[in-house]
């Protein structure tokens, strides 16, 4: 255990950061009732994934740039997703005056 | 297309013809159905005569055979990759069952002469169901067998659910679900046998040449037997039968108790025992015990019933017990008795349910204590009821005696691989039912038909109409003919039963086919 703290920053440390980010994202995704909060949690998940791509690119195949390219893709997709998601939520809010996801059960039963 | 295919397809063609007729012409529809089933009856009679001439000569040759000999075989490859054929034919057992079904459906059509609600759909479903039944009895390919089996079971749900009485949805659902559980067991067994044989064929005759590993037989045999047993009202899986029969309309009860329940006994013999003789030897005594419970328990259960249909249903549980008892006795007399009992019980219950329908149509009650003295106003129906009752208590001169004496002798004589003391004891317990049967039949019938007329409305009731006389007369005559001249019937089936016995005897010493 102490090795982890004493050794210089490497792959493992970066992975811990990304896993922490992912876990926070998952936690937010599963617990937030506010749709905007869920959207933010999804952003965290995407960022953690994006970070992983960059990390593995750096440590596994430093000569190639595939990881970076993928992360740029992810950032683009995330931006698009936020746009669509926020648009839906805004419309929803206009109609129902709430963005609480547990109340969105029109299709249930 | 050969004789056998015609026998299968004719009811289906009739159903198609009925479909063509506008629903409002319900009188035309029943005439078409009657013509179709009548033609089928004639075709069956013709086939029977041809078959009898061939099969009765083969009796000496078949005494040592282990392979079933089929007549009028038709075979077309269907799914070559899976080894599924359209493989149909007739042997003595199938022939007797075809005769039974043909008689019952003809009588059933006559008995449903007054179905005015959705006549068209009723007859279409009824005839489809019968197509399935004929298919089961004449197919010798396991896959085809299973397909027809499902065709026969499923229309029952709609027939009871739509045209039934009382808690019909409950009864229909219960019946279908229980039978489906049975089908699932059969399907598993079928696939197990298919894979274990390594032959890549569903051909029943070829599958029966294989000596399956004893470990496989041990668990597949009870699956088959229980699966078919559900349909054959094996205790404790019989409870669909009282509810189902009580709720079903007349013709459906007739067909169901008369024919469909026979699929159970037929399958248990044809598939379970024939394919898996080692398993049969191992489980024989266990199932003999269960069926003894069936026989005695069903007859005691019938004593206290108040509803005529429940009364008949419990007596069916008892009588179907004889079928499976005979199968579980694992010898020539047991098997023969089982087949004859299937036939005689089929005709007998068909008669009972037809008569109950006719009586109910007049008195509007099926509750036994509410009726009384009906013999005075409906002598024909009373006589037929008594004939049915006497046949069901095994009075010599009717088919029931031939069957029951075979089954009892089979159980008592035993075989060389099951515990003889246990078999004899079980047989003696089972014979008690002949007294109990006499008690409930006479009690029930005496209350309904004898004594003074209890309700003044009954004075205005009429006796059977011509169609009703035709329908019940046919069934009564069949019972009497088989009972008085059993040798014809025995000649018909005997040659086909030897292989079952011989394969049982030879199992364990046979050389594997592959």
């Amino acid at each position: 255990m102490s090795d982890f703290f004493l050794s210089p920053v490497g792959l493992q440390h970066w992975l811990v950061v990304s896993t922490a980010l992912f876990s926070i994202g998952i936690y937010g995704l599963l617990t937030r009732r506010n749709a905007v909060g869920i959207l933010m949690a999804v952003e965290l998940l995407l960022n953690s994934t994006s970070l992983n791509f960059v990390i593995f690119n750096k440590f596994a195949t430093p000569s190639a740039v595939d990881g970076q390219i993928m992360s740029i893709f992810i950032i683009a997709v995330a931006a698009a997703e936020v746009v669509v998601g926020m648009a839906i939520f805004v419309t929803l809010f206009k109609h129902r005056k709430t963005v609480d996801v547990t109340s969105m059960n029109l299709l249930k039963n | 297309m050969g004789l056998v295919s015609w026998l299968i397809i004719l009811p289906f063609l009739t159903a198609m013809a009925v479909l063509m007729v506008p629903a409002k012409n319900w009188k035309a529809i029943r005439w078409i159905s009657l013509t179709g089933t009548g033609m089928h009856l004639m075709l069956t009679a013709f086939t029977t005569m041809k078959f009898w001439a061939l099969a009765s000569q083969d009796i000496p040759a078949m005494k040592t055979a282990t392979m079933t000999k089929l007549y009028f075989v038709e075979r077309v490859t269907w799914f070559q990759t899976l080894g599924i054929d359209y493989f149909v034919g007739l042997d003595g057992i199938s022939m007797s069952m075809v005769i039974l079904t043909s008689i019952i459906i003809f009588a059933g059509t006559l008995a449903s002469w007054n179905v005015e609600e959705r006549t068209k759909e009723f007859f279409v479903l009824l005839l489809t169901l019968v197509t399935g039944v004929f298919g089961v009895f004449m197919s010798f390919d396991l896959f085809l067998f299973f397909m027809f089996y499902e065709v026969a079971v499923l229309p029952m749900y709609l027939l009871i659910g739509i045209w039934g009485t009382g808690p019909k949805e409950y009864a229909a659902m219960k019946l279908t679900l229980m039978l489906m559980v049975g089908s699932a067991l059969i399907l598993v067994g079928m696939l197990a046998v298919y894979h274990a044989s390594g032959l890549h064929t569903f051909d029943l005759i070829r599958l029966a040449t294989v000596n399956y590993p004893a470990s496989l037989q041990t668990w597949v045999f009870p699956m088959f037997f229980l699966g078919f047993g559900v349909l054959g009202a094996l205790y404790p899986f019989h409870t669909w039968s009282p509810d189902g029969h009580a709720s079903a309309p007349t013709a459906v009860s007739m067909l169901h108790a008369g024919v469909l329940m026979k699929l159970g006994g037929y399958g248990a013999l044809r598939i379970a025992v024939y394919l898996l003789p080692e398993g049969a030897k191992e489980w024989g005594l266990f199932f003999m015990g269960l069926t003894t419970i069936n026989i005695v328990y069903g007859s005691f259960g019938a004593i206290m019933q108040k509803d005529l249909k429940y009364f008949t249903a419990y007596s069916s549980v008892s009588h179907c017990g004889f079928v499976l008892f005979g199968v579980a006795a694992m010898n020539l007399m047991g098997f023969k008795g089982a087949i004859i009992q299937m036939f005689s019980h089929g005709i007998m219950t068909g008669l009972f349910f037809a008569l109950i329908g006719m009586v109910y149509g007049r008195t509007h009650t099926r509750i036994i204590p509410d009726m009384g003295g009906l013999a005075k106003v409906m002598p024909w129906l009373a006589v037929c009821f008594y004939v049915g009752g006497m046949a069901s208590l095994g009075l010599p001169g009717f088919a029931g005696f031939v069957a029951e004496s075979h089954v009892f002798m089979g159980g008592f004589f035993g075989n060389n691989f099951m515990n003889p003391v246990a078999m004899k004891t079980l047989t003696i317990i089972a014979t008690v039912s002949i007294v109990v049967t006499a008690v409930y039949v006479l009690r029930g019938l005496a209350t309904v038909f004898q004594g003074p007329i209890t309700n003044h409305h009954f004075h205005e009731l009429t006796d059977a109409t011509l169609t009703e006389k035709l329908s019940t007369g046919l069934l009564v005559a069949t019972l009497a003919v088989v009972g008085f001249m059993p040798w014809y019937f025995i000649d018909l089936i005997e040659a086909s039963i030897f292989p079952f016995v011989n394969r049982l005897q030879a199992s364990g010493t046979m050389v594997a086919f592959h």
Binding site: I26, L29, L30, T31, V101, N105, L107, K108 | K63, K174, L177, M178, Y235, P236, H238, T239, W240, P242, D243, Y297, F300, G301, I303, M304, Q305, Y314, L332, M333, K336, G373, A375, K376, M390, L395, P396, G397, F401, V402, S405, H406, F408, M409, F412, T431, V432, I434, V435, A438, L442, R443, A446, F449, Q450, G451, P452, I453, P486, W487, I490, E494
Partner: protein, 666 residues
């Protein structure tokens, strides 16, 4: 000893076949005719059919008994048979016709009584709405009974046994609107059915062991000329070699030897049909049927089927001494038991029914005391069967004439009928004297022979019972005779008049038989076993006491009912108190049986089973349905519709899988 020349010997099957054809004609054809024509035809057709069968039977008897010279044992012939039912190889039922002394004797009895009863019925049943139905069933019965009599094998016997039971059921319940007749018919059928369970088991047992012996015995049987024999055949079962093998069997079943057990079981069937104690309860109730039916079925023919069965299987019974002892004790006890009850009954037909029971007991114990070495009882039993058929049928038909005249069954409603109905009176007196055992009427000879057989066999106790019963019989028979014919007419019998001629002819014919039957040289005709011939003439050492007790019985009846009037008998009944009531209530056997069936079988077996099935077994099925629904309902709450919940499940699952993989596989 071949019979090629004789038409009737080769065509014995005609005798049962004619009533059967008549039954079919009546049941299928004439039934559809208009009511009036139907009534006219059915009586004539049925009566003619049975009369022609009777003619053939007499012809057969003549031919058969002249076939063998005197002193030569009369062989059993099977002139006609065919394979009816094949259970398996070497186990088939050959339906056929067996001609031997007792079957010929019974054929004569059955056809004679049956044809006379048919004739009588044309008068007695005249105008009854069920006239045609009555004759249809009477023909069915005659056919079944003749089929039973000629059975060459035990399974055919069983088949016809059941058929006579069924026709008896139909005829007892002939007045099907009368609740008492309905319950009597049910009772008769169910009680005999219960006995037949024993018979069936006995048949199966014999069939089983016979089949096992068959292979080893068959060659020597074939050598001795018994070709085409099957294990069920009497020829096989009574064959000495087969019986030796049977006796040598070490198998026991519940502590009894195979042979004894099967014979006891078969006797159970015989006891049911012949209404032996304790299966006697159905016969008195069977009197609910029309009186001619009682005469034919429940006095002369069907009830003797049990005796006939024991006689038919006699060599086998004799091989098992224990079974024969059972026959003897049951027979002797029934004779006494029924005679005692007979003294207290008021219904004339019931008195006659109990006297039938008692006389059947005589026949049974006569068989029970004999053996293959001392076969006198066998001959005596058949002789008594023969004579009893005539005088008891006569008594019943006479009683029918009385009932017809006074419209009541109670003897107290009769009285003073001797002058109003002279022919009936004369014939009934002859029969009453005959049953009381007065010389020279038929009953005297046969009863005497039975008593001699009992005495010679060394069973003095049984002999004493026989003698006692003879006295009681004379008492109760003369009780009804005196009450019905003598004394003052009651208001019922004031307007009584003599029966029509069609009813009187059978009475007269039967009276002639009753007088003459005793002189038939039965010992020459019917015998079995080693000492041919047997008892000839009258053994006055036995006949003397028997005549004396009969006279004593008659005198006592006169003392009680003629000299003393009603007061004396009432005083005696009062003095006996509870004993009298118990006897009059037939020792409460009906109540005991009713208690067993209604209270025990129905309440403690059938009802719980019905409940168990509806609630426990079916409950199991419904439970499985409920469990499916309940588990569905339980899982339903996990389906919130929230993606977040599913996501939580998903993540939890993924983490668990990862952990499991990590812990166990890393």
């Amino acid at each position: 000893m071949h019979s090629e020349q004789s038409f009737i010997l080769n065509n014995v099957w005609l005798i049962p076949a004619i009533p059967f054809l008549s039954f079919l004609t009546l049941g299928l054809l004439i039934r559809n005719f208009p009511k009036k024509l139907q009534d006219q035809l059915s009586g004539i057709v049925a009566t003619l059919a049975v009369f022609s069968a009777a003619v053939l039977a007499y012809w057969l008897a003549w031919e058969y008994f002249h076939l063998f010279p005197a002193g030569v044992a009369k062989q059993a012939l099977v002139p006609w048979s065919f394979e009816w039912l094949r259970y398996q190889e070497n186990l088939a039922v050959n339906v056929g016709v067996l001609v031997d002394p007792i079957s010929v004797l019974l054929m004569v009895v059955v056809t004679t009584v049956s044809s006379l009863v048919h004739l009588y019925s044309t008068g007695y049943m005249h105008g009854d709405p069920g006239y045609a139905r009555y004759f249809t069933w009477l023909n069915l019965f005659t056919f079944s009974m003749l089929g039973l009599v000629v059975s060459p094998n035990i399974l055919q016997m069983y088949v016809c046994w059941e058929l006579v039971g069924a026709s008896s059921f139909l005829l007892i319940g002939f007045y099907f609107e009368k609740p008492s007749a309905v319950s009597a018919s049910k009772k008769a059928f169910i009680v005999t059915r219960f006995a037949d369970l024993g018979f069936l088991l006995g048949v199966i047992l014999l069939g089983y062991y016979g089949y096992n012996l068959f292979a080893s015995v068959a060659p020597s049987l074939h050598a001795s000329g018994l070709t085409n024999v099957q294990p069920f055949d009497f020829a096989f079962l009574t064959n000495p070699e087969v019986m030796n093998q049977f006796m040598g069997m070490s198998d026991t079943f519940m502590g009894m030897g195979v042979l004894t057990l099967s014979m006891v079981l078969i006797f159970m069937g015989a006891a049911g049909k012949s209404a032996m104690f304790p299966l006697h309860i159905w016969l008195p109730d069977a009197m609910e049927g029309p009186t001619p039916v009682s005469a034919l079925i429940h006095a002369a023919t069907m009830v003797v089927a049990g005796v006939y069965l024991v006689a038919r299987m006699f060599p086998v019974f004799a091989a098992s001494a224990d079974a024969l002892l059972v026959v003897m004790y049951v027979g002797a006890f029934t004779a006494l038991f029924a005679a005692v009850i007979g003294c207290t009954q008021d219904d004339i037909k019931r008195v006659l029914a109990f006297s039938t029971l008692s006389q059947l007991g005589y026949m049974m114990f006569a068989l029970g005391v004999s053996s293959m070495d001392h076969p006198l009882g066998y001959t005596a039993s058949m002789f008594h069967l023969f004579t009893h058929a005539f005088f008891k049928a006569l008594l019943f038909l006479g009683a029918g004439a009385l009932i017809h005249a006074v419209h009541s069954n109670s003897i107290w409603d009769m009285g003073g009928l001797a002058k109003k109905m002279p022919v009936t009176h004369a014939t009934v007196l002859i029969a009453t004297l005959a049953i009381a055992g007065i010389y020279p009427l038929a009953g005297f000879f046969s009863k005497d022979e039975i008593l001699v057989a009992a005495l010679e066999s060394g069973h003095t106790g049984v002999f004493a019972i026989g003698l006692l019963v003879a006295g009681i019989t004379a008492f109760y028979m003369f009780r009804i005779y005196f009450v019905a014919f003598w004394g003052k007419p009651s208001h019922h019998s004031e307007h009584a008049h003599e029966a029509p001629i069609s009813m009187l002819i059978p009475l007269i014919v039967l009276a002639i038989f009753t007088i003459g039957a005793g002189f038939v040289p039965m010992a020459d005709l019917v015998s079995i076993g080693h000492s041919a011939g047997g008892h000839h003439g009258i053994n006055w050492a036995v006949a003397g006491p028997s005549l004396f007790v009969a006279a004593a019985g008659i005198s006592f009846a006169w003392f009680m009912y003629v000299a003393g009037g009603k007061q004396r008998s009432a005083a005696l009944a009062g003095a006996l108190g509870g004993v009298y009531t118990t006897i009059k209530q037939k020792f409460y056997f009906d109540e005991i049986y009713l208690f067993i069936t209604k209270k025990i079988v129905f309440r403690f077996i059938a009802t719980p089973i019905a409940w168990f099935d509806r609630n426990v077994v079916d409950g199991g099925v419904n439970l499985s349905g409920w469990l499916t629904r309940a588990s569905g309902a339980a899982l339903n709450s996990t389906q919130t519709g929230q993606v977040q919940t599913y996501g939580a499940w998903f993540v939890g699952g993924a983490v668990t899988v990862t952990l499991v993989l990590w812990i166990f596989f890393l």
